[in-house]
Structures are given as C-alpha cells and as structure tokens.
C-alpha cells in the first residue's frame, strides 16, 4: 500500500523574487524583512514547536534575528526556505545544548515504558487531540537528529535532498534516521495503533 508523501511545505519558493528579497534585507530594508517574516514564520514555527514546544517562540525569533543579521551571506544557491530551515535547525540544536535540557533518549527508556498508556489516553483511538499529544511526547524523546529529520520529512514534507542540504548529512543518513525515528515512534504509539 503506497502512501504518497503529502507536501506540507507552506511556502513554495522561487529563487528570483526570494533572492531579490534577501538582497533588500541585506541592505537593511525593513519592509523586505517584514515580508520575509510574514511568509516564513509559520513554516519555522511548526519546526520549532515540534522540536521544543515550550521555547518555540524564542527559537523562531532567534532564527529570524540571525537571518536578518546574516542576510548578506545568502548566496542564492539554495532556496530561502532551505536557508531559513538551516538557521532554525542550528538555533534549535544550539538552544538544546545551551539550555542543557534534561531530555531522555528514547533508547534509555525501559521497554516496558516505551508505550503510551491507553488508559491515560482513553479517547486516543479516535486519533484525536490526545493521539497527537502522544505523538509529540514521543517526538520529544527522540535523539535530536532523528527528531529533526522526522519533523522535516514527515511534518514539513521536505525531500530527502533538501533535508540533506539543511542538516548537512547524506540522503541515505536522512533515510536511516527517519526509519529509526518511525520505528521508535511507532513503538511508542503502539497501543493507539492497534485498533
């Protein structure tokens, strides 16, 4: 059974207008920067929130601050969206390191605990809000790179080539990370997927 990957990218980009936009921002054009923010905030917010919901706003703000400060380094060799994704990913990973968050690697979680409790989520079978909450909880337990690959591929709809560009890993590594993430999340959500 084939499941075509649905693209969830919110802002299809074309290089010409985006390059011009970035050149204006590099010259300090506030209107151009405001345009960039309006076009891409939702895209980055979705990444940041899935990565760290509690700090999502700060992460997005920091991402745009860096984008503004380094607009003159945008060469046009990649899409603006990829460039922004890359900044956001770096901000997320840096934030994680700086904050020294007490995260738990899902590999360290005992097998007996590696499932979301159906009792805790009585209505989750309907794939309602609780199911998505359980997904987010499982996502938060993934290793950073697997989590980010999963977010970019499954929730943002990026191609493997773009994930490779954003994260600086090979496409094969991206696939491997994705498969591992899905195995773990599937295990985490197993009780909710039985019916």
């Amino acid at each position: 059974m084939l499941h075509p990957i649905r693209s969830k990218k919110l802002e299809p980009v074309s290089s010409g207008p985006d390059l011009a936009l970035m050149q204006r921002i590099a010259k300090g054009d506030g209107d151009a920067f405001a345009d960039l923010v309006r076009r891409y905030t939702r895209m980055l917010y979705n990444v940041a929130y899935r990565y760290n919901a509690a700090s999502a706003e700060d992460l997005v703000q920091e991402s745009f601050l860096r984008a503004f400060q380094h607009a003159n380094t945008f060469s046009g060799r990649s899409k603006v969206s990829s460039w922004l994704y890359r900044i956001c990913v770096n901000v997320c990973l840096t934030h994680m390191g700086r904050a020294s968050l007490q995260t738990t690697d899902i590999e360290d979680v005992p097998e007996s605990e590696l499932t979301a409790s159906v009792n805790d989520l009585p209505e989750a079978r309907a794939e309602g809000r609780e199911t998505f909450k359980a997904l987010e909880e499982g996502l938060a337990l993934l290793p950073a790179q697997e989590r980010m690959v999963f977010i970019l591929r499954e929730l943002q709809g990026l191609a493997y080539s773009e994930i490779s560009d954003v994260l600086g890993i090979t496409e094969q590594a991206a696939r491997t990370n994705l498969h591992r993430a899905k195995r773990r999340l599937q295990s985490w959500l197993s009780p909710l997927l039985l019916s």
């Binding site: 059974m1 084939l2 499941h3 075509p4 990957i5 649905r6 969830k8 919110l10 506030g30 209107d31 920067f33 405001a34 923010v37 309006r38 905030t41 939702r42 917010y45 979705n46 929130y49 706003e57 997005v60 703000q61 745009f64 601050l65 503004f68 400060q69 794939e127 199911t131 998505f132 997904l135 499954e154 929730l155 696939r175 994705l178 498969h179 899905k182 195995r183 999340l185 599937q186 959500l189 197993s190 997927l193 039985l194």
Partner: protein, 299 residues
Amino acid sequence: MECSEALDFLYQSFDAQLTPTQQMLLDAHRRTCFACANTLTRAERFQALLLKVPQLAVPRGLEDRIIERVFAASHVTTKRGETLRTFVDAITNWRSFAFAAGTAAAVLALVLVSRNIFQPSAMTHVQAPPTITAAINGTLDVGSGSKTSQQSGAVTVAPGETIANSSEQPSTIAVSQHVAVTISGNTQIQVGQVQVDPQTGDPNVIAMRLVHGMVGVRESLGKNAGAIHVATDQATIVPTGTIFTVSASAGTTDVAVGEGSVAVYLPGETFGVPAGNQARISGGRHTISKLRPGTKFVH
C-alpha cells in the same frame, strides 16, 4: 525475505522507493508472516496518522513581535547601537546626565525631551559650550522670556532659549548637515544641554524639551554623522537613517515612522517601529498600528 527487512521495505514503499520485485516480496511475506502482518498494519496506521497531523497556526502577534525584537536587537548589538543605548539609558535617568554626555562625546545626538525630564538645575552640571549655530528655513521665534524675536536663516541658539513656531506653517531648523528638525505650527521646544566637539565645533549633544506640539526629524547618515535620540517621559526613540515624527501631550507619546525604522526604549522593554507604522506610548504600555494611507511627515 527476513522479518527484519519487512518494515524497512514498508517504509521505503511509503516513499515509493520499492521496485516491483521488492513490493512482491513484501506482499508475499506479509501473507505468510502473522507477526509481521500486525507490525506492518500498525506502521501503515502510523503513516496514515502522520498525514492527519495539523500544521500549527502562528500565535497571535508573533510576527509583529519578531519584527520588533529583530529590529531592536539589530541596533543594540552593533557597536554604534551599544554606544547609543548607553547614552539613552543614562539620559533617561537625568541624574547621570553628566556621565551620559561624556560617553556620548563621539555621537551626534539630538535629544528632544518632553515634560519634566530635563530640569534646568540638571543642566548646570554639564560643562558645555553655550551655543550652536543652526539654519532656519522659514521663520521661528527664538529667544528667552521677553527677548524673543522672529528669526530666519543662520541663528545662534543658547541653552534655556525657546524655539517656537506660532504660525500655521511648519519651519525647519538644521542643527547640523545631517540632522534637521521640522517644527510644526503651534509647537514650542526649549533648548537644554548643548555640547559641541571642541575639535570640529560640530554639535555632539543637543537636548531639547518638547513643550507642546509636534516635531519631525530627518536624519541622513553620513560618515561623521551620529544618530538622533528622541526621548520623552514615556520612551526614548532611536532611529537610524530615517524620517519620523514624534509628538508629546500629557502622558502620551506618538511616534510615526515614514522611512527606515526606529527602536523605542521603554523601561525594561524595547520594541521597533518599522516604516509605515506608528506607535503610541501611554501609561507604560504601547500599541503599534499601520499608518493611514497618505500620512504626511513634517520634515
């Protein structure tokens, strides 16, 4: 096919990466391996679930907050911005004004201060040359007390003197080659601290108290130009290469930005106002809104 391969094959099938032969092998394994059949079914349900994960909406006002923070941060993180902010922070607390004047020696700053921030007694703490030479385009009433006279063209302005525009038409006073202040009709300002560079004679600091009315400021950045600071009792506004107006009335400061942008410093808070927007500061709070189409700037 080994059981361990089945799930990987299924994941690849989600990406349409399986060859027809691999798909046949997967289907055959599924029919014969009950354990894998269940696992694969859950994997398919999981994949279907992912397709239903909604995209999150952006929290209300986040885009504005981003623009404000980035704009403000872009000023304070530059060397020049840090210098200016030091000055702004100090000048807001006028007891430290002497220190502020010292730190601002390299900065050309025009400070328009509304009610009660600059007291005459504070001015006596600062050693500064008493006058500046400016140029008036139009006609303004310049002087002190009863010794006020209409002036145009080159004029010498001393601390304590007032500059008023009692007509309906705005007039402009250029205080340096980079900074010009347009004084609207029925507006009065009082000259406070004046400090000039002893080497060049150019003004470094000009403090003015906006008594009432509205002024427009045009700042054009040049190699030797500094920034303009417009401080009121509610806020301090730091623009860069921009055109803006500021007006003060009891308890309220309005800032409208025509070109460029400005950073506004409140006690414990900083925000930016991009071109095409206006801010109202009152009671320690601020609101930002779009300028009405056709808004004209007095500069």
